[in-house]
Amino acid sequence: MKKETLFLTSRQIILLIMGLSISGGTLILPGRCARILGAAGWLLVPAVGLLFLFGAWITARLGLLFPGETLIEFSRRLVGRPLGVLVSLVFISFFFLILPVEIRILQEVVNISLLPRAPSWFVTGAFLLVLSYTASVDFDTLTQVNEVLIEICIAVALLVALLGWRFFDPVNVRPVFSGDGRELTAYWEEAGMVLAFTGYPLVLLVYPFTRRPREVSRATVWALVAIVLMNTFFVLTVLGVFGHGETAGQAWPGLELAKAVNIEVVILERLDLILVISWLSAIFTTCFLAYFFVAFGLARLLGLRRRAYLPWALAPLVYYLSTALNNYFVWNRWLAYLSILAVLTGLVLPLFLLAVALLQRWLASPAHAEEEKE
């Protein structure tokens, strides 16, 4: 039977955006917030979230103007072929560069919690093989898998956070700016936190697969609201449990929270591994989605009919890049660069494209023609 195209629902779009945004970075987000604003770090999440909420709204508005097309097609029409291709490449590069960063996080998490002595080639290689196989699936499968995994991750994360409230101390999160007066250059190191909010540009690639474009734009905004709320709750809990000093010093505050809330059970001694394993799913969904959209975007850009082999072709490059991030400082610098790209794809480029699109529409409108005549 010819596979029917199942149109994406609003719920699936929300989960797609959450799937790309919620990832390994969430585990280190409380540490970053604590380092920037100290005890009031949790307020940083809604503040930054508000900024990207604006970006999400702009992106949704932009997509709504071209409901039957992806960014790859309409950008060429809007700003001309060379610039359009460049814009598309910026978006594709953003999705692509997420991969080595996330794979590096995965390697760390696996080495810390599951396989302490496992060589990096094994952890990265096995993951890339799985990723290359899974990223060659179709759109329906992608959304369905994301639907299951991200819901499990969110549920586990919320459970851990809720259990953490047993040790919550409100004094730890008093909203007084208690930053330690870091220099502006030091904040640059924490720029990676914006990646927790910037999954929404993917909607510019999914509009043709939706039945009601207006719902997509609403879903985009709702997705970001959900992400902001979830991250705020998580950061607030971690800061409330450990205090900003301890949190700022931890490499993986999220994992530390899971260890702190451990409940001894009969079958398993430690329950924090459940969070770790479910967080592997979060990293997997992020990489899975990013890899899929890289292949999808490249196939559209190059006019390829089949894209199943693209993930396999790109795998060596991803492997090389992930091994290039050989220490924390390189990885963090990389994250900062990626954050610039995230701001570009999440705020600057959508705003620019929207402005161009509206301008073109206005120029093409009869009212403008009359004005010209006059």
Binding site: M1, A126, V130, V145
Partner: protein, 544 residues
Amino acid sequence: MKKRKVFRQPKGARQVREERKKRKTGDNSGDLLVPELAKNVQYLKEKIGQSDDVIFREYTLDLPDPVPIVIVFVDGLVAKETINEYILQALTFKGELNSEWVRDKKNLVRHIKDRVLNINEAQLLSNLDDLITLVLSGETLILFDGYDEGLICNTRGWAHRGIDEPETESVIRGPRVGFNEILRFNTAQIRRWIRDPDLRVRVLKIGRRTKSDVALVYLEGVANPRVVAEAEQRLNRIDVDGVMESSVLQEMIEDRHFTLFPTIQSTERVDRVVAAILEGKVAVVTDNTPFVLIVPVSFWEFYYAAEDYYHRWPMAFLLRFIRFLSFFFSLYLPSLYVALSTYNPELIPFTLTIQLAGSREGVPFPLFMEVLLMELAIEIIREASARLPGPLGQTIGIVGGFILGDAAVRAGLISPLTTVVVALTAICSFTAPNFGMAVSIRVLRFPMVLVAMVGGLYGLALVTFILLVHTAGIRSFGTPFLTPFVPLQPEDLKDSLGRVPFWAMITRPRSYRPLDLKRQKAKAGSWWQALSHSPREEEKEKEE
């Protein structure tokens, strides 16, 4: 692959001309009867007469102008009493034959069919290939000298098994009837349950040599016509020499061939097929097998038993929960045991770790090898007990499972804990109501143990991702395999991990896209109805 025509096409003018010419010249090289009886008989003898079980009975109709006839049938496939009493005896009944119509020679065969024979199913045919197929299916052919049409009578009658309770799907409560090997009995059983004029039974012939009857059974107006058309098209596309069992069809019409999971359900139970048809699914009944195929199907349905609907709903919840838990154990338990013991013993409670270490002392094999060997042994015992006759099979099960296992533990070849894990896994795998799915899970266990040995919990997580992506990509006749969970179909959750009471099952499962969504009329103003059918949703559906 040779493409078969889906619909019967009208004959072209050229073909009609050629057929006429053949008839006139008495050329029998084609596939039509000619007026010369001797030529027809010779043709049939060349084709099927070499076998001793094909009988050619020569006879003469004692009319004023005698007409030689030949009766052709296959011994063993026909009911001889029917031929003797209702064909031969009827043909020799002079009173009728002396009547007025006898003189209308042109329509003699038609008159015999309409006025003489006491057979409930008779037809005139001239295509020799069709006639041969029907004779080989147990029907009786009467050829008349001077006529280019043969009279084919339904005289099928052969030894068959009665209606028994299916051994593979027995229940504590519920009907104890199963299908048997006769297609007509099977379709009649379905008809006996569903007395609806909309029940359709469409018979196709599949197999170049076996020419097996395959019936598509569905409810018109309920089943999705696209699914019906697709099933028919896939069946028509099959060009194979023989269909031994419905599993042959199953492999040929399933959506994805390279998967361990069955995507078509097979069952021996009549009630199960009837329930599926009522839900808007399509049943494929094959001659010579009691196993009926049902399409489309979701993964979870392989863990539903017919009995779930005969016990009260809270009980059904419990039964399904146990089955799904068993599914999880049967897939993951040995590999989790290997992963935790090898890489993450800190996760296991301390006392259990001590026990584990103590029990493994002196065991010569590494843990994964121990588990693999035990799994293999269990499979061998299961296979041996399945092949042996009933009581002997049970004995092998006891000897293999109990005595051999105990001896192996005492000899220090395996640890007691591994025996417990493997035995528990084996028992869990037997709770799956569908044998095909149980086997798939059993096959998966072996690579999973290997992965657990190499990659521990990380490896198991990766395998789970692969399995999830793989199963999410599977379709069963257009229906996502993991529905109603993925993609989420909230209304179909009423019959998934558990089931709600019957009065709350107002709609048929939406996942199968039935034409008629309503299964029952809810009480006016019922809160449940309001929950199942929101006006907004109806509006949306209309829009779509």
